[in-house]
């Protein structure tokens, strides 16, 4: 029972977040076009960062590759972009988690850093391929600010819940992990 929970729940929750992102982008597009710029909802990515703090490396890499492949194939059609970004970010978070004391603020700050990294990598690869020809200044002004704000607030608001959820998956207690 515990093994099923460990294997199924992360994948199912990431998949559900990935579906929700598409549905939000489809039906609430007018809302996402704020005056500050366009907000890209990154629920899947936020969940991935939180799981990277808790799960084992092998499990994390397999999850990132599978979810990255689904994300690429369903949304962009260019395989390998989100797969690479998700794997890279999982690796960085797993290296960082030993350096900082774990706590709610750490999750939010690491989350904001990783989202910036993801947006930069994806923009850069799309620029090199030729999908977009927007300059860096347009990208920064129109997308990065609004996306970071929205997703930063999201991860800040969701981190207690996600922490409890991850501990539930691993069947462990809060006091073993939280250090401040």
């Amino acid at each position: 029972m515990k093994a099923w929970k460990l294997v199924l729940l992360p994948f199912l929750s990431l998949f559900a977040a990935f579906m929700l992102e598409g549905v939000i982008a489809a039906y609430f597009n007018g809302v996402l076009y704020t005056s500050m710029g366009y907000v890209a909802p990154r629920l899947t990515f936020v969940l991935l960062i939180m799981f990277a703090f808790y799960l084992s490396p092998n499990h994390m890499y397999i999850l990132s590759i599978i979810i990255g492949f689904l994300y690429d194939s369903y949304f962009t059609g260019y395989l390998g972009i989100y797969m690479a970004s998700f794997c890279l970010v999982s690796y960085i978070v797993m290296e960082l988690k030993d350096l900082f004391k774990s706590g709610l603020l750490t999750y939010s700050l690491v989350g904001i850093l990783m989202i910036t990294l993801l947006e930069l990598i994806v923009y850069w690869i799309f620029r090199v391929i030729g999908v977009t020809d927007a300059g860096v200044s347009i990208f920064l002004a129109n997308r990065l600010g609004a996306t970071l704000l929205f997703n930063g607030l999201l991860i800040f608001a969701l981190s207690p819940l996600l922490e409890k959820f991850s501990l539930f998956i691993l069947n462990e207690r809060l006091s073993n992990h939280r250090q401040f």
């Binding site: 998949f15 597009n29 369903y74 949304f75 962009t76 395989l79």
Partner: protein
């Protein structure tokens, strides 16, 4: 430093970089999606249906509720429109009759203006917006094929780019990638002699800052006035004639100053696409890969 850069890690890193770069290159160069991708996309779209139907239903009831407020004003407005509509309708009937007679006399097969429509719903849209695509819930088992035009709210929004069994993806016109959507279009207007004059061009670009489509490669010198409707011309090979793209907003000269350039306000609202129509042209479509056009069929 030793912790990060052991031999094994460098080898894994290099191999994974090579794998990812080759994956990206493979996806760019291949034109048709392969079976695995199509299959996973189909399954994902099927699950996505379960997520999107409830939200769609909730939004529909919200729209109905907010529409009730405007009903009185809308009613007055619609009554006026209806009177004008009767006139246009009878004119239309007369023209259609004449057209039919002429077609029979000349023994024409399917013309490029005839088409059939299929209705579909949007179930998902690309959240990161660099590649603007929507997923709809009609697939090849409903008769959708690749490169069919798709409209929403009576304005063209794009064409189908990938078709699976129960779902398909539509690439929108707002993509900045230049090769994604080049649509042969025309503006039907009146010149000084009060004759209808058709100006042909190519809608190929989208200006993100002003949110308007750009029509280029206009060969004639005819005057295009603002407010005229831009429609598809059917000469591109796969689109029928007469689908509304938008209205002319601004006419200017292009970068080299040689030909005219028209900024078009799109007729469809790209921020709120919920129900779409997929258009199936009745006439024979010319495939780009074919060497010579096939024989016309019934």
């Amino acid at each position: 430093m030793n912790r990060f850069f052991t031999n094994k890690k460098i080898i894994i890193l290099l191999i994974s970089v090579i794998i990812f770069i080759s994956l990206i290159t493979l996806s760019i160069t291949q034109t048709n999606t392969n079976i695995i991708q199509g299959f996973t996309n189909d399954i994902t779209a099927f699950v996505n249906n379960a997520f999107s139907r409830p939200i769609n239903a909730v939004l529909d009831t919200y729209d109905t509720a907010s529409n009730v407020q405007d009903t009185f004003e809308e009613n007055k407005h619609l009554k006026n429109e209806l009177d004008r509509l009767y006139e246009t309708q009878s004119e239309n009937d007369a023209l259609r009759d004449e057209n039919q007679q002429l077609q029979e006399e000349l023994d024409l097969q399917n013309s490029i203006t005839e088409y059939q429509t299929m209705a579909g719903n949007v179930i998902s849209r690309n959240p990161d917006y660099w590649v603007d695509q929507i997923t709809i819930d009609r697939g090849s088992q409903d008769g959708v094929q690749i490169n069919m035009p798709v409209t929403s709210d009576n304005g063209l929004i794009g064409q189908t780019s990938e078709v699976n069994l129960t779902s398909s993806k539509v690439t929108l016109l707002t993509n900045e990638e230049a090769t994604a959507n080049q649509i042969s279009s025309e503006v039907v207007g009146e010149n000084e002699d009060e004759e209808t004059e058709v100006v042909h061009g190519l809608v190929s670009d989208y200006d993100l800052s002003e949110q308007m489509l750009i029509m280029t490669q206009i060969t004639s010198d005819a005057e295009i006035s603002e407010g005229e409707t831009v429609t598809t011309s059917g000469l591109g090979g796969s689109f029928p004639r007469g689908i509304v793209i938008g209205t002319v907003e601004e006419v200017s000269l292009d970068n080299q100053g040689l030909s005219q350039q028209v900024y078009i306000e799109p007729a469809a609202d790209f921020n709120n696409i919920r129900a779409v129509n997929i258009i199936d042209r009745q006439a024979e479509t010319i495939d780009i890969q074919d060497e010579e056009p096939a024989e016309e069929e019934e």
